[in-house]
Every structure is written in structure tokens, then in C-alpha cells.
């Protein structure tokens, strides 16, 4: 067998083995249909492999091994949890399972929230138009088998439908208690035309987790999404965010990652209606055995849309940062404004930054650019601070924070941004 056919076979065999060992969850008509379709997709695509071009810089094995490796639970040591001073509705998950006792009542004007587990037992649900549908669409141009696996087997997660302009943020809080929990989490978030929501996520879902979030934004809807992925060192996780934007819809998503043995954050965004806006940003700080991968795909499928990707990584002691970003501009998407920047600051010789920023453009009247840089702390800037009496460690810290600021600046809400910045500074100073 020639090498390519052999690889496909190996991947399919791996998927078949996984599927043989797991039974699809029981459910009502709509959920069963979606799960079976996802199972078929997974069987066809096979499990991801390090030899896939798409996994060139990250090894998916720890995400696909039969059992999760144990990951110790750490105490963040924060005086105050993240977003604590924000008036929000808290929904708490422990090791990927909903904890009703620790959560606020899921009542928020303009929002309908239900558990995936409950909704899946019914035969009809609004989520059927989104659940697994956006994920399936996200399988081209590249296969994302972990997302199909999630759609097929997830039983935890929230189905959130927003009909109005919601004032209080909705906060999903993930806590860990087990060192070996292996969680699948699948959220569906739908904003009707003109609706608005701020969604906060905080913490690592489990020792190993696979999270899919499908977001459907109606015309003029606005979603502000801020996510922090905790500080645990050993956990591994893969997240997929699939978002479809209608005309004039807005998505602003920011992710802060600190540590984690392996994190693969994928974002797939379709600008389906004209004048949509998608801003996605990420800041990550990695120290030691840390592998962080941002893989982003933005498809301009309508005219006059704007997209922005800003990714910043600070890496040291062998940490590896990966950025794979692609902007695809369809022929119809004239007057597109696409921007992408990925930058890394390598604090010592062991750190690595691997990037593949792509543009694929089929429309002629566009403004698209990408930039990528990598290097160490600027000696001149460092000297400037030292010359003014700033101690070494503090000077480095200032420059690191200044470097990350460009990504944090993407957060619209100043209070939330300041809160994240304070936490980040505290974390960094403890490890300095």
C-alpha cells in the first residue's frame, strides 16, 4: 500500500477501535440523528495523526490515547477568582459535569438555558439546527475528527439561546477535582437577530478534555466571549469553537492560556452575512513542558466583512507555541478587510515558536495582511528600563506585559480586561 493510503487506513482503524470501545449515548430523535452522523464522519475521517499536515506541529496522541494521563490539580493561589467582582450568573462544572448546587439559578432575562443531557432526551429541540451542524461544516477544508468525536459522544454542556440584549454576563466556571477525569463538553450558543451576550469561561474543564462550542449569531447579534483556561500544568485539552455570523453580526473572542501540558484551541469562523465582524485574540504564557497550539480558520463568505486575529505568546524553558491561521476569502467577498498577526517572545534558547499563517484569496478588491514575528526581549528596551533603575526581573516583566497588551487590548470591556491583566501579572510575578 502506498504511504498516503496506508495513513488513511491507520487513522480509520484507530477510529474504528475507539468506536468499538464506546457506545453512543442514548437519546431522543434529534440527538441520536446528530450523534450517528458525527460517528459516521469520525469513522470516515479517522483519528487525527501526527503525520497529518494539520497536526504538523502538535502531536494529538495524548488527546486520543485510550485513557487520560493523570494531571495533578493545582491551586491557582489567587486572592480572588477571576471575574469575581463582575456581577454575573455563574454556572459551575466539576470535572466536566454540571454542579447545580454550586451554580446560580440559570435564570437570566432574555436567555434560555438548558442542559445538553436533558435536551438530548427530547425528540425535538431548537438546538438541532446547530448541534453538530456547524461542526460538520467545519470539516472542510480540513478534517477535525476530535470535534466529530465530541458531537457523537458528549452528554455534558449547555444549550443557550439568547433572544434579547442580556445585561449580566453568563459565566461558565470549570473546576477540577479528579486527577484522571476525561471530559467531553459541548455547548451550543444561539443568538437571535439583534441579541447580545457576554460569555465568560474560566478554568480547565478536566484532566483531559475535548470541548466543542457551536455559535450561531443571527443578523446584528453580538457575542463577547472571554475565556481563561486555568493554570494547571499537566492537563491536556482540545477545544473547537465553530461560529457562524449573520449580516452585521459581531463576534469578539479572547482566550488566555497559562500553562497546560497540551492545549489545542481551534476556531472556525464563517462570515456568512455582509458587514460581519470577527475579532479573535489570544494571549498565552508558557513555561516548561507546555505546548500551546492556536489553529484558526476564518472564512470570508460575504462582502464587506472584517476579521482580525491577534495572537501573542510568551514562552520559556522549553515551552512550544504553535500558531496556524488561515484567512480564506471567497470570490464573492469583495471589500474584505482581513488582518492577522502572530507574535512570540522567546525568553530563553529552549523555547520554540512554530507558525503557519496562511492567506487564500479569491476576490480582488480586498485588504488582507498577515504578519508573524519571533524573537527575544528587545535589548534596547531592556536597557532603557535598566538605565532608569528598574530591576532586572521587573524590567522583564514590564516588557512581557507590554508585549501581551496588544492581545489583551482586543477585549472591549475595560473591567474584564483589567481583571485579566491583574491576574496575569500576579501569575507571572510568582513564577518570575
Amino acid at each position: 500500500m502506498m504511504p498516503r493510503a496506508k495513513l488513511v487506513q491507520q487513522k480509520r482503524d484507530a477510529a474504528a477501535a475507539w468506536l468499538d470501545a464506546h457506545a453512543l449515548p442514548e437519546g431522543g430523535v434529534w440527538a441520536t440523528k446528530a450523534r450517528k452522523a458525527a460517528e459516521a464522519r469520525l469513522r470516515e475521517m479517522g483519528m487525527p495523526s501526527k503525520r497529518d499536515e494539520y497536526w504538523r506541529y502538535s502531536d494529538p496522541r495524548r488527546l486520543t490515547d485510550a485513557a487520560a494521563q493523570s494531571a495533578s490539580v493545582i491551586d491557582t493561589g489567587d486572592a480572588q477568582p477571576l471575574f469575581d467582582q463582575v456581577d454575573r450568573v455563574k454556572l459551575v462544572f466539576v470535572d466536566g459535569a454540571f454542579d447545580a448546587a454550586a451554580s446560580d439559578a440559570p435564570e437570566l432575562a432574555g436567555v434560555e438555558i438548558c442542559q445538553l443531557g436533558d435536551a438530548a432526551r427530547s425528540d425535538l429541540h431548537w438546538a438541532q439546527d446547530v448541534y453538530g451542524v456547524l461542526e460538520a461544516r467545519g470539516q472542510t477544508p480540513v478534517a477535525r475528527p476530535l470535534a466529530s468525536l465530541n458531537t457523537a459522544f458528549a452528554t455534558a454542556g449547555l444549550l443557550i439561546r439568547v433572544t434579547g440584549q442580556v445585561q449580566r454576563p453568563l459565566a461558565l466556571i470549570y473546576r477540577r477535582s479528579s486527577e484522571t477525569a476525561d471530559a467531553l463538553m459541548h455547548h451550543v450558543i444561539r443568538l437571535d437577530a439583534g441579541a447580545e451576550l457576554t460569555l465568560l469561561e474560566d478554568g480547565p474543564v478536566a484532566a483531559r478534555y475535548n470541548q466543542v462550542t457551536e455559535i450561531d449569531l443571527g443578523d446584528g447579534a453580538r457575542l463577547h466571549h472571554i475565556r481563561a483556561q486555568g493554570r494547571d500544568h499537566e492537563r491536556v485539552g482540545a477545544t473547537h469553537l465553530f461560529a457562524r455570523l449573520g449580516a452585521k453580526a459581531q463576534l469578539k473572542s479572547f482566550t488566555l492560556s497559562a500553562n497546560g501540558a497540551l492545549t489545542r484551541n481551534e476556531a472556525v469562523i464563517w462570515l456568512d452575512g455582509s458587514e460581519g465582524t470577527a475579532h479573535i485574540a489570544g494571549a498565552c504564557v508558557g513555561d516548561g513542558a507546555f505546548h500551546h497550539d492556536d489553529t484558526v480558520f476564518v472564512n470570508h463568505a460575504a462582502p464587506r466583512c472584517e476579521s482580525r486575529q491577534v495572537y501573542k505568546k510568551v514562552l520559556r524553558h522549553g515551552a512550544v507555541g504553535v500558531f496556524q491561521g488561515k484567512i480564506l476569502v471567497d470570490q464573492i467577498a469583495q471589500l474584505t478587510d482581513g488582518y492577522q498577526i502572530s507574535q512570540s517572545l522567546l525568553l530563553d534558547e529552549d523555547a520554540q515558536f512554530l507558525a503557519k499563517p496562511e492567506l487564500e484569496i479569491y476576490a480582488d478588491d480586498v485588504k488582507c495582511s498577515h504578519g508573524s514575528t519571533s524573537g527575544e526581549i528587545d535589548a534596547n528596551q531592556f536597557f532603557y528600563l535598566r538605565a532608569r533603575g528598574v530591576p532586572k526581573a521587573q524590567a522583564r516583566m514590564l516588557l512581557v506585559l507590554a508585549f501581551l497588551a496588544e492581545a489583551l487590548d482586543e477585549i472591549e470591556d475595560d473591567t474584564l480586561a483589567a481583571d485579566l491583566r491583574d491576574h496575569l501579572e500576579a501569575w507571572l510575578s510568582r513564577r518570575a
Partner: protein, 503 residues
């Protein structure tokens, strides 16, 4: 030209630009054919053909084994599918792998004995195969500039000019088949040392069936007294050209090498799979320039050359320097990534490229800069222009290995689309494995740098003037890297008014 007429023109792309592009496509100047009796090897590819080619070139046993080894490896390999190219399935058994003009059966002792028809062919292409001065366009220079030419016609080299004068300087410039006879120790030492037989599918194919190409050896401390050039012509139908070029620049030497290629217009596609290997030793400098003008196919995408080329330079020792300059205007399909292995400390690689794809052409081209030594430097400037239904992709790799400390790369890729049915793509790979290296990559489709515009505007130029100056300046920056002989041809080929497309 149907393709562009249908295309809706946008503001800022002026009619002249489109017409220039059209005229280039409409009038492929080198599409004629030389009628001449040819001697073909039987159609198809198998071990016997490999043996036959080896025998025709009177090769030693080791080279035959080397070819057979490559052929066996090729059989286990697959055609690469990662490029953004739609390559129709190629029937490798429907090709001729060896075609030689009958008149070349007895190897002519000098160019004077070569069939006049063949000499005419080159004269018509503007490549004088006489030991005379200048190429078109550079008259008036204070001193006539000499250019030595190796003319490769289908599978064989017709001859090489200025051999004696070069030999006096110690420079060896001949066809690779001659080098195998006359300098076997050099060929054996360096052949396949930069591009191994199993490097990739097309390199393996080339290693098995390469028929001719040029060999250049510049001894230590020698600055080659003239430019060297090879002119490739595909003439015979259904015949692939598989040339192999090997350049060795010893310590402290210096050479500038030019390469040009054309082919007749035909309805069927023809295969061209070349390998170029360059070995650069301490303090040596090689400049390699290409004007690739293979037949690109007609306006409906019929015919044209499939150009699958592996080009790589190995800067083996300290302060070695390589510069690739390419103007890619021809070929139905281009798959080409001239690369630099920067192994020696402080070695340097540069890549300047203009790639133009029109009608149904597809180009996937770029470079690889592999930094292995300390303080190595590389610079990539790529300008891609797409028109008609063409797809133009820049694909590049910049890799900083852990030991390549304090190295530097700067990459700039600009794309210009003319019309709304074409595509322009950028696929850079950036791998940084040490902190003290600095890598910067920029790619854009916004046509002119705002800072530069601002600078011009600040000094009182109106906007159009400023745009014209900046774009012109940028384009010249790439063109001026070409040796003068080629700059003329290249400028004519790139006679696209970039100023007008930016407005």
C-alpha cells in the same frame, strides 16, 4: 483573450495593465517549433530505459546503479499532493524520456560543427551560440560583456561557448554528460549530495532519467571571468526534459549563473522535471538567476509545460552566500521552491521572486531557508501577480534550528490580483527553535506600504505619483537583482504596469 474580457474590471486596475497581461498571454513569442529529425528512446519508463539513457551517455557503472536506485525508490513514492495545484494525472508511460537531434549522433567537436538548423533555433531565441560579445539589449556598455552559454536542446547539450577562456581561469563549464566523462571524481563527489535521489518524487524521477544539464566548477579563489548561462529548449513532442545542473563553488570563489527556458506551443502538456544542486564552500558566492518562460498553455488552458523543479543550494561552510532570483512567467503548472541550506556560520541566503500567472496557469512556488549555522541571514522578497483564471501561491519555509543562534530572517510576500476569477495565496511555514534569532514575516495584498506613501506625500508628491514611485521602486528592487543580460528580458516579461494596478 476570453478570460480577462469577461472579468469585471475594478477601479484601480487600469486597462493598460490588463492589456499588457493579455498581450503577454496572447503572443507567446517562443512557441514555434524547429523541424528536425530526432532520435527517440522508446516511449515509457522502466529499468531498460534508464539503462539506455545511461548507455547513450556512456556512463560509468556507478552512475547507472545510482540511477537505478533512484528509479526503484521513485516506484515506491507518490506524487506530492500538498501544493495548491490541480495536477491532472500524468501518465508516465506516455512520455519519451530521451530525444536527441539525429545530427548530434556523432558528437560535434565544436559549435561550428553543430547542425545550422539548431544554431538557428538559438539565434531566433536571441541566444547567440557564437563566442561573441553581447546579448541583445546591453550594447553600449563600455566593454562588451561576455556570457558563456550551454545550450540544452531536448535531452542533449549542443555545446558550450567560451570553454577555452573559462578553462584558462580554471573554471569548468560543460554539460553534465561531458563532466561525467572528463571529471568523474567531481561529479561522483557532489552529485546527489544536495538533493538526494529520494528527496522527493520529482527529484527521484529526475535522478533516474536525467539526460543532460550543466556542470560548473569554480576553483578556490576564482571569480568567474564572465556570466555563465544555460538555455533550455524543449522542442520534441511528448518528450519530457529532465536536466540536472550541478554547480560547485570552492572556497572564496564567485559566479553568476543564468538560466532561461522556452518551449513550442502544443496542445498536449509536456513534462519538465529538473534538479539543480549548488555547493557553496567557505566565503564563496553564487548568484543563480532564472527567467522561466516555458509555454504556459493557450488562453483556454490547453497545453503548456508542467514544471516540477527541485533547486537547492547548500552553504556548507562559513560565510558562503547564495542568491536565487527568479522571474516565473511560463508553464501551465509550476512547482518550484529554490532553497538554501545555511549550514556554515554566517552564511547567507537570498530569494527574490516575481511570479506571474495568467489565464489558467497555476503556480505554487517559493523558497526554503533552513538555518543551521550561527549568525546566518536570509531574506525573501516575493511578488506574485495573478490574472485571468490563474492561481498563484507563495509557499515558503523559514526554519531556525536550535543551534542557529543569532540568526535573522526577513520575509515579504506581496500579491496582486487582476480580475475576480483568479486567486492569490500565501502559505508560509515559520519554525523558530531558538530565542536569539529574529524572524519577521509580512504578507499583504494591500498594494502599497502606507509609511512609504506617507513619506512621499509629505514631500509634496500627489498620491498617484507617490504610488507609482513606491511600487516602481519595489518592483525594481527585485528586478535589479537580475544580471543585466536577463534584466532586459525580464523587464519585457514583467512589462505590467504595476503603477496602474494600484491607484
Amino acid at each position: 483573450m476570453v478570460a480577462l474580457d469577461e472579468t469585471q474590471l475594478r477601479d484601480g486596475v487600469d486597462r493598460e495593465t490588463v492589456e499588457t497581461v493579455q498581450s503577454m498571454a496572447g503572443t507567446y513569442k517562443h512557441g514555434w517549433e524547429t523541424e528536425i529529425e530526432m532520435d527517440f528512446a522508446p516511449k515509457g519508463l522502466n529499468e531498460d530505459i534508464v539503462r539506455l539513457i545511461s548507455k547513450k551517455n556512456n556512463e560509468p557503472e556507478w552512475l547507472l546503479e545510482w540511477r537505478l536506485d533512484a528509479y526503484r525508490r521513485w516506484l515506491t513514492m507518490e506524487s506530492p499532493d500538498w501544493a495548491m495545484l490541480n495536477i491532472p494525472e500524468i501518465d508516465y508511460q506516455e512520455q519519451y524520456y530521451y530525444a536527441k537531434p539525429k545530427s548530434m549522433e556523432e558528437k560535434p567537436k565544436s559549435l561550428d560543427e553543430v547542425d545550422p538548423k539548431l544554431l538557428e533555433t538559438y539565434a531566433k531565441l536571441g541566444i547567440p551560440l557564437k563566442e561573441q560579445m553581447v546579448l541583445a539589449g546591453v550594447e553600449g556598455a563600455d566593454e562588451p560583456r561576455k556570457v558563456a552559454v550551454d545550450a540544452v536542446f531536448d535531452s542533449v547539450s549542443l555545446g558550450t561557448t567560451f570553454k577555452k577562456e573559462l578553462a584558462a581561469a580554471g573554471v569548468i563549464f560543460c554539460s553534465i554528460s561531458e563532466a561525467v566523462q572528463d571529471h568523474p571524481e567531481l561529479v561522483k563527489k557532489y552529485l546527489g549530495s544536495v538533493v538526494p535521489q529520494n528527496d522527493n518524487y520529482f527529484a527521484a524521477l529526475n535522478s533516474a532519467v536525467f539526460s543532460d544539464g550543466s556542470f560548473v566548477y569554480i576553483p578556490a579563489g576564482v571569480k568567474c571571468p564572465m556570466e555563465l548561462s544555460t538555455y533550455f529548449r524543449i522542442n520534441a513532442e511528448n518528450t519530457g526534459q529532465f536536466e540536472r545542473t550541478l554547480i560547485v563553488a570552492e572556497k572564496g570563489s564567485h559566479v553568476s549563473y543564468l538560466e532561461g527556458c522556452t518551449a513550442p506551443k502544443r496542445d498536449t502538456n509536456q513534462l519538465h522535471a529538473a534538479v539543480v544542486e549548488i555547493v557553496v564552500l567557505e566565503d564563496a558566492e553564487v548568484k543563480y538567476s532564472t527567467v522561466q518562460n516555458w509555454f504556459p498553455g493557450d488562453e483556454n488552458g490547453k497545453g503548456g509545460i508542467y514544471n516540477f523543479v527541485t533547486k537547492r543550494a547548500d552553504c556548507r561552510e562559513a560565510r558562503a552566500k547564495v542568491m536565487w532570483t527568479q522571474v516565473e512567467t511560463g508553464s501551465a503548472i509550476t512547482w518550484k521552491y529554490p532553497s538554501c541550506i545555511l549550514r556554515g556560520d554566517e552564511s547567507q541566503g537570498e530569494f527574490y521572486s516575481i511570479a506571474i500567472a495568467n489565464n489558467w496557469q497555476q503556480a505554487d512556488t517559493g523558497t526554503k531557508m533552513v538555518h543551521l549555522g550561527k549568525n546566518t541571514r536570509s531574506r525573501i522578497v516575493s511578488k506574485g501577480i495573478s490574472a485571468g483564471h490563474a492561481q498563484n501561491t507563495y509557499r515558503g519555509l523559514v526554519s531556525m534550528h536550535p543551534k542557529a543562534t543569532s540568526s535573522r530572517n526577513y520575509t515579504q510576500c506581496d500579491s496582486l490580483l487582476i480580475g475576480d476569477k483568479c486567486g492569490a495565496h500565501t502559505v508560509p511555514y515559520i519554525e523558530v527553535r531558538n530565542a536569539s534569532s529574529r524572524v519577521e514575516h509580512e504578507a499583504t495584498t494591500s498594494k502599497v506600504d502606507d509609511d512609504q506613501l506617507f513619506y512621499c506625500r509629505q514631500r509634496g508628491m500627489d498620491e498617484e505619483e507617490a504610488v507609482a514611485l513606491v511600487v516602481n521602486g519595489f518592483c525594481k528592487e527585485v528586478l535589479q537583482e537580475l544580471p543585466m543580460e536577463f534584466a532586459m528580458e525580464a523587464q519585457a516579461l514583467v512589462a505590467i504596469s504595476l503603477e496602474g494596478s494600484v491607484g
